[in-house]
């Protein structure tokens, strides 16, 4: 009996050891699940040129999980949960979490230089050379990458309601009781 258990344990151990060393890790799957937790603003505040590259860096161990300001503390917590790590505070060196923003072009000042169009990581700016440009608000992630290249400083970032204006009822803080009893 004891021998049988020892044999089974040894076999299982060998099997697991083999699986750990020989079977390839699903690198793409890990990157994809990390990428799915990132806010997809593509703002590059983390130091990588987009959310996917940052996800790859996290997966390979070259980046920390607290470098994404738009994701906020909730984003760090989700990553920590996924990767089985301890949540850490957001690293202020990479920026601070803020309200949702979208870019808006001041039409009087736009000279049609197309520099912002080239900078936009999600192709959310529409326009052509010598023609006024405009931002497709529904697709703008508020990444701010269009600001630095603009030679006439005609792009403003404006605060917008969360989730396109879906009204979220407040979490009850003050207990209110409205019902009457029959």
């Amino acid at each position: 009996m004891a021998l049988a258990i020892v044999v089974i344990a040894a076999l299982l151990g060998l099997g697991l050891g083999f699986a750990a060393t020989r079977l390839p890790e699903d690198e793409d799957g890990v990157v994809a699940s990390i990428d799915a937790l990132l806010p997809q603003t593509q703002c590059a505040q983390c130091g990588y040129p987009g959310c996917r590259p940052y996800a790859e860096a996290i997966a390979s161990g070259t980046a920390e999980i607290n470098q994404c300001p738009p994701g906020g503390e909730a984003g760090v917590a989700a990553l920590a949960e996924l990767l089985g790590r301890e949540p850490v505070p957001l690293d202020p060196a990479f920026g601070e979490a803020g309200p949702p923003l979208v870019a808006r072009i001041v039409e009087d000042r736009c000279i049609g230089c197309t520099l912002c169009i080239q900078a936009c990581p999600v192709d959310a700016i529409l326009g052509a050379a010598q023609r006024m440009h405009t931002v497709i608000e529904a697709e703008c992630t508020g990444c701010e990458l269009c600001l630095p290249p603009c030679p006439v400083d005609c792009i403003d970032l404006v605060e917008v309601p969360r989730a396109g204006g879906v009204h979220v009822l407040p979490r009850p803080e003050i207990p209110i009781r409205l019902e009457a009893r029959g």
């Binding site: 990428d35 990132l38 806010p39 997809q40 603003t41 593509q42 987009g50 959310c51 996917r52 909730a74 990581p121 999600v122 192709d123 959310a124 529904a138 697709e139 992630t141 969360r162 989730a163 396109g164 879906v166 009204h167 979220v168 009822l169 407040p170 979490r171 009850p172 207990p175 209110i176 009781r177 409205l178 019902e179 009457a180 009893r181 029959g182």
Partner: protein
Amino acid sequence: MGEAVAIGTRRWRFHGGLKLRHWKTLSLERTLATCPLPERLVVPVGQQRSGAPVPCVRPGQLVARGEAIALPSSPDDVALHAPAAGTVRQIAPAPVIGRGATEAPCITIDVDPDGPDAFLSPITPWATTAPAALRTRIREAGVAGLGGSLVPTAGKIDAAGDSAPTLIVNGAECEPYIACDEAQMLAGPERVLLGAQIIARAVGAAQVILAIEDERPELAERLAESAASLGDAAPAIVTVPTVYPEGGEKQLIRVLTGLEVPGGGTPLDLGLLCLNVGTVAAVHDAVVEGRPLISRVVSVTGRGFGAPRNLEVAIGTPVAWLAAQAGGYTDAIRRLVMGGPMMGVPLAHDDVPVTRASNCILGLIAEDITPTAPELPCIRCMECVRVCPAQLLPQQLFWHIRAGSYDQAANHALADCIECGCCAQVCPSQIPLVDYYRHGKTELAAQRVEQERATVARLRFEARSARLDRQEAARRERLEAKQQKLRSARDRKAEIAAAVARARARKQGNDEDL
């Protein structure tokens, strides 16, 4: 779609629920009356669940009563009609009471009481009219679920198709004060019964029943009298035990058939079509009188009003005007609620319009109100589990939402919560559970939108990255080709030079030989 379930005489019971004292006689002492038109109507345009209808009138335009003022933007939508004749004053956001929103775009109409009507032509006799024509009429007239869901009735009926479902007319008003359906049935039982027959014809229903609560004998008698005069084709009147929330669609179906509507499904999955009494009456008016959905019955009730009563009210009538028609506020009034005491929303002011979903305006006095008490910790007494008619785990839902684990709450079927308020009512720790669930549901909705937006951003980023890579590869290829050409040109030059050098060397050698 399931085979139609026949409803027999056996009654089941649903899980949980509460036996509450009824206050219906308060408003039923006075008969149903038509509320006079106010000077101005404010018709909210954004009340529909999927997208909002688009206004098709301009400020300053004259409209007739019953004329379409907003057209549907999708097939899941229905048109809105002018509740009264007059002049469109403005189309702008105004305060409203609805799920979540505090403001919605509204069409304001300056009422002209002597203005013209523009109803549809009556369909007579409807009994020989093709079902398709009846369905078209129900759509044109903009009939929507007056039980509060505002689901377009035409959509439900079209989904039923020709499946011959069992039609259940839901007259089991279970909120303690609300009596708008009962008032309507007492005042005009034939409207409801004929309306049910019209819908039965439109969907080819195998069986039609009208369910009311068993504690309303007077109503049962009145309905039976009216049904007898209509003969065999009249809907069967059945009574169900008076337990809150009996009037919930899923609860009523459980009581009548013993079956459960699957989570995320509809009664049609069981071969049932369930419609509210008000909706059925609106269908009757649309077909027999050609009258679009422009008014509804509202209970203006509670001891906070001088003369509580039920009123047929034009959509968009301000609550303040309505209150004045019900004897005004008494000195004792402490709280104004839109809806019933269990599921209603408290009003901060009375300058909001009645919408198609408003079934009740409730004025409560101090005695009716449980004093505000601090929220205490959950002691896991399981009272909420015992009363939950949706058979959820309210304490777990609360726990997850409070911890911000909205996904976990969703896994615990938060979407199946009907917000009936039973759990909050029995909670010994006075936890405002329903407020937590409403918060959780709206938070999840917002997260879904954010997730969709993130997906769009990711796809666009990937598409752009792929495009840039492609362009870079193409550029590199071009460069390579150019260099290749340059190199080959250089090689040719070198070859020629070498040949020239060889020739020259040979020539030189020849010269030396000579």
